[in-house]
């Protein structure tokens, strides 16, 4: 009886692992999944650089949240760092603060380790949380593919819904050459209670380095 139980359990576990591996393999080549515009975001809890856990529930009295998947090492993320800080400075007081999340596998880029995240946030004086998505579960749930990758959430009575997915503006090389400020436009739409006009954009970015399955 006992033997049969263990055999059955082993088979179930082996099948489960096989299915997971096959799924991941397929998923790696499929077009990005994740939240679409209008989707309700499942709450998450991630460790901030100050050691405390942060979740969306902490923002239930805000009008929304600007979630930015970013990291330390990526030149695009670096090019946008000051602009991300400026976004928080401008929109935090209006009820739409920035929450930055780093999901990169630190074994691929040492610069993206939690210790280096703490250092970066301290050195630059981030006014917003910089969360470590160590299991990468949050990045996968969102469908974040690259850094920086922005998801703007609107607080609809305690439910956070996705209103914008994409890039910050139309010039990663030169902040002074920007003509379209996608995130600011979307934030202004959301704060004015209007639908976001341009709600999806794309940008070149560093692929998030996924851990081996």
């Amino acid at each position: 009886m006992k033997n049969k139980f263990w055999t059955a359990l082993t088979i179930v576990l082996a099948l489960g692992t096989a299915v997971t591996l096959i799924f991941r393999q397929k998923n790696a080549e499929a077009s990005p999944a994740g939240y679409a515009i209008g989707a309700v975001v499942a709450d998450f809890s991630l460790k901030n650089v100050d050691g405390n856990a942060v979740s969306l529930a902490n923002y239930k009295d805000k009008k929304g949240v600007i979630v930015v998947f970013t990291c330390n090492h990526c030149p695009f993320a670096k090019a946008y760092e000051d602009r991300i800080m400026a976004l928080d400075k401008k929109y935090s007081s209006l009820g739409m603060p920035v929450v930055a999340i780093n999901a990169n596998d630190a074994s691929e880029y040492e610069e993206d380790s939690f210790d280096n995240m703490k250092k970066r946030a301290r050195d630059k004086g981030y006014s917003f949380p910089y969360l470590h998505d160590e299991t990468q579960a949050v990045a996968k749930a969102f469908g974040a593919m690259r850094t920086p990758h922005v998801f703007m959430l609107r607080n609809d009575g305690g439910k956070f819904t996705v209103q914008y997915i994409g890039t910050i503006d139309d010039n990663y090389q030169d902040a002074s050459g920007v003509t379209k400020r996608y995130v600011e436009d979307a934030a202004n739409n959301i704060l004015a209670g209007k639908p976001v006009v341009v709600n999806q954009t794309k940008a070149i970015g560093c692929a998030i380095s996924w851990k081996e399955a």
Partner: protein, 164 residues
Amino acid sequence: MIKPFFSPGLWVLTFLMASFGGFAQTVEMVKWPRVAQILRQSSDTTYILNFWATWCKPCVAELPHFEQIGQEFANKKVKIVLISTDFAKEINSRVVPFVQKQKLKNTVWLLNEPDANAWIDKISPKWSGAIPATLIFNNKRRKKSFFEQTLDSPRLRQELTDFL
């Protein structure tokens, strides 16, 4: 920047580049229409466009495979263009030295079009914008494959058999 035409340094540089152009690999800075032009090519040539950057580890790791394929298919109608998305201001300080150090034989462009939202979908609507990314196409045979992932030479060889 103001009057580059009259800069003696530039003349010397031009002369040097012309003299050694056949030997040293250079990197051409291009705008989108240059890419659009080959996307429209109707000849029976299979193009492989690889989007990369010097600081992108998985991109750099797969470059030797594209070099290998470039040599293997040198006598076939296959044209590889490595399209760098490095910052334009780093072309001479970073991209050219990298390309020369790696002794890349494939054509290398630096695409200076920072409004990527305007052209990513034209490469493939499936592309999120993450690199590396590779587009293989042959317009005459109406074939097109897009990959937002790393590729190695066995995989490239296998993909190319569908095109030739």
